[in-house]
């Protein structure tokens, strides 16, 4: 993951769930984080969209279960289009 993406994601996790990226494994399920609730999840999604400049589809949101899923989506959506 690019360093600037890493930094943005770290900031988002901290704001939404009071969590630090370096402390989390990719297998970390978002719903199982201590500070997670459905509202903080929605806030996380909209802030992520704002920070990275794309809008997730309903299916992408539903499939975004773990931190690894989040990273994959950020990487996929950030690929330059030819």
């Amino acid at each position: 993951m690019q360093a600037d993406h890493q930094e943005k994601l770290s900031q988002l996790l901290s704001e939404s769930f009071s969590a630090t990226l370096s402390e989390l494994q990719d297998s970390q399920v978002l719903m199982e984080m201590e500070q997670w609730d459905s509202l903080s999840h929605m806030q996380f999604i909209t802030t992520l969209e704002g920070e990275f400049g794309f809008e997730l589809t309903g299916d992408e949101i539903a499939n975004m279960q773990s931190l690894g899923d989040v990273k994959k989506i950020i990487e996929a959506r950030s690929q330059p289009t030819s």
Partner: protein, 249 residues
């Protein structure tokens, strides 16, 4: 939100205030879906305005609601504005001293009133919000409440249902606002409709007018104006607009 770009979905739109809202809003919105369980009344408004998308549905049947909302979203005009209008007034005292054999409020009437006025609003909004979020659409849920939500003698069930609608409105505003879906409600007072005129005696209506600072019943267009305001004002969220001429019950 720009009114002419929105697609509405209104429940109970074939009669009463709902019918007027359909007549008043259909020209301003891009398209309008109308749900009602009364097939004959629905056919009538469809004949009068063939541009309407009409759906027959008993809103107390959750599966039917799911299918109807799905059909609306799969049409060429997916809705962005839900107007929860369907409902029925029920008046009955908690204890009826004049009825010695069975003085207590009927449980059947209690359940039916809650079902029609509260559960249907929950069912509709549940399916609508889910479809909106899946498609990442932004919009608004407008529920028609009542000034009786603050409590009104002789209307335990109806007042409780409408208070529930107000509470759900605030809850949804908080839950869905972050995803761009607003929620608001309109609490009409006494509106000049055929149902008001048939439900209340002439003397009672006179009494209501006398106790209303504006000395008249509300007009259905007053309610339609509030619907337009809520759609157009993007910062209006989680509040109930009282359209009651200043009367306090």
């Amino acid at each position: 939100m720009i009114l002419s770009e929105q697609v509405g979905l209104i429940t109970g739109g074939a009669s009463g205030i709902g019918k007027h809202l359909v007549e008043s809003l259909s020209g301003s919105l891009r398209a309008l879906h109308v749900i009602d369980k009364n097939v004959g009344a629905l056919d009538e408004i469809a004949t009068a305005n063939p541009a309407l998308h009409t759906h027959t549905c008993d809103l107390t049947d959750f599966e039917a609601v799911q299918n109807t909302v799905r059909a609306a979203f799969e049409s060429d005009a997916p809705p962005t504005v839900l107007i929860n209008n369907a409902g029925m007034i029920h008046s009955e005292p908690l204890i009826n001293l004049m009825s010695p054999d069975d003085r207590k409020h009927s449980l059947d009437n209690w359940h039916r009133t809650i079902d029609v006025n509260l559960n249907t609003v929950f069912y509709m909004t549940l399916c609508f919000a889910d479809a909106m979020l899946q498609r990442r659409l932004k919009g608004v849920v407008i529920s028609i409440s009542s000034i009786t939500a603050c409590g009104n003698a002789g209307q335990s069930a109806y007042a409780a249902a409408k208070a529930g609608v107000n509470a759900m409105t605030v809850t949804w505003a908080k839950e869905l606002g972050v995803m761009g879906i607003r929620a608001a409600a309109i609490a009409p007072g006494f509106i000049n409709t055929p149902s008001t005129n048939s439900a209340l005696s002439e003397g009672h209506i006179k009494h209501i007018k006398k106790n209303t600072p504006l000395n008249r019943l509300g007009d259905v267009e007053d309610v339609a104006g509030a619907v337009r305001f809520i759609i157009e004002n993007d910062f209006f969220n989680g509040r109930v607009i009282e359209i009651d001429g200043g009367i306090r019950i």
